[in-house]
Symmetry: C2
Subunit: 237 residues, 2 copies
DNA sequence: CGAACGTTTGATCTGTCTCAAAGGTGGTGG
DNA sequence: CCACCACCTTTGAGACAGATCAAACGTTCG
């Protein structure tokens, strides 16, 4: 088994995986073994490219990535973020093809994940992770389709907060958001100019702040109420 | 095995399933058996309700359904359509919870589907269907986030055309669209008033028409080009 | 015939985009 | 250590897509 020091980000990522499904000793062992062999990718580089065969399942250990769709005329839509503890290439069928590009938004550390035989606890964790991914896509759809700029922004920040909290990267309404406003705008279906104004409005309202890479959500309850948000729940035990 | 007459819609639905993955004799047999026992649901009734445990995998044999998200203040976003040959409750983990409501938009015929053991060809079909569903969600996100009203409408109609064509319900740029403009507007993130005007614009342009439940896409190539659409591809054989 | 429902039309309002320029800020090289 | 450059954020003014509110117009159906 691995020595005392895990790679950067590994504990956080493991925390999330372990929370998805109860893992037995052999599953944990397999994960530790996988994490022994990590890779790095600098910001702006592609992790996955649309239309190409998917390499295999990977786990993000640290850093932010995003699924991106490009429109021929230059417009760009960010489909979803991929955070530490979350998976890439988590498909079930043979020879899957990537449905979108995935790019590193910051420097990213990741590792390959082992295949899991059916009925192994690891398989269950993969499946639950996949269901959560779907839940995030649904949330993104309602954001873009029916919320105003302010609501969209608040809702997305709340979602990111909840997701980061799962691996201990957010707490007390605060977390690090290492992105430019332009990227965030592409996720929200807004222009960066309008996002800038929206953020100012939120500050004036006292709803939330995002400055110098740090987000502060002043009142989680109130914000959740304001955007009519329901927390993600994917399975019942 | 079943007699000569299959339930309404069954051949179309089977056509799509069989195209997803090569099915062996026993898989086809299992499907036929499942289809022997169909259920009906009238329009506007709920097939699945958000937050409740999912019953099991179901196959739509005929009619249209939709996944819907409701916002407390009355706004409504239609996440995706569920068409004949497509699946409901197609999840992989234990005790899954519904992530959205699903309502019947027209009268719907459906049947329960059997569990498929891993490595059974049926399992592969389920997985491919699931990947396609994800592809449709991504498409919906880019539509809502980055396309104009006219582009959104054209893009969605093209998608529906392709999906319906998979089970022989669309051909030559034409298909039946048995919905109200209001429902379509909820899918497109528009108001029904604006959709009405957008449809008129499309008619004037000669791009496409939708009257009395019938859609005509005049030039599939040109339309596809116009909205920068890439056809859905989910796996490579 | 009237009621319910869906579509169309008109007038007006507003949220967000567009284009352009001015400020920061951090990094790099001289 | 400063000057410069690249990149990000902010500000301003104006344009436009789409929302809103209201009413008229068709259908269909009891």
């Amino acid at each position: 088994m691995t020595g005392a020091s895990l790679p950067r980000g590994a504990p956080a990522a493991l925390q999330r995986i372990a929370a998805l499904a109860p893992l037995d000793e052999s599953a944990l062992q397999a994960l530790h073994k996988a994490i022994d062999d990590t890779s790095q990718l600098p910001a702006r580089r592609e992790l996955v490219s649309e239309g190409r065969e998917i390499g295999g399942r990977r786990l993000i250990l640290s850093g932010w990535a995003a699924r991106v769709r490009l429109i021929p005329d230059g417009r760009r839509q960010l489909i979803s973020f991929v955070l530490p503890g979350e998976l890439l290439g988590n498909c079930g069928h043979a020879r899957p093809v990537a449905l979108s590009n995935v790019i590193a938004l910051t420097n990213v550390t990741y590792c390959a994940l082992p295949e899991a035989a059916p009925s192994q606890p690891l398989r269950e964790a993969y499946e639950v992770s996949r269901a959560m991914e779907e839940a995030h896509l649904l949330a993104q759809i309602t954001r873009l389709g029916r919320l105003t700029a302010l609501e969209r922004t608040a809702d997305l920040l709340l979602e990111l907060y909840e997701r980061l909290a799962l691996c201990g990267l957010a707490e007390g309404g605060r977390f690090a958001l290492p992105l430019t406003q332009e990227i965030m705008a592409d996720a929200l279906g807004l222009t960066s100019v309008h996002l800038s104004r929206t953020l100012q409005l939120a500050r004036r309202n006292g709803d939330f702040e995002w400055r110098e890479g740090q987000v502060v959500l002043h009142d989680l309850e109130a914000l959740t109420q304001m955007v009519g948000r329901v927390p993600v729940q994917v399975s019942c035990h």
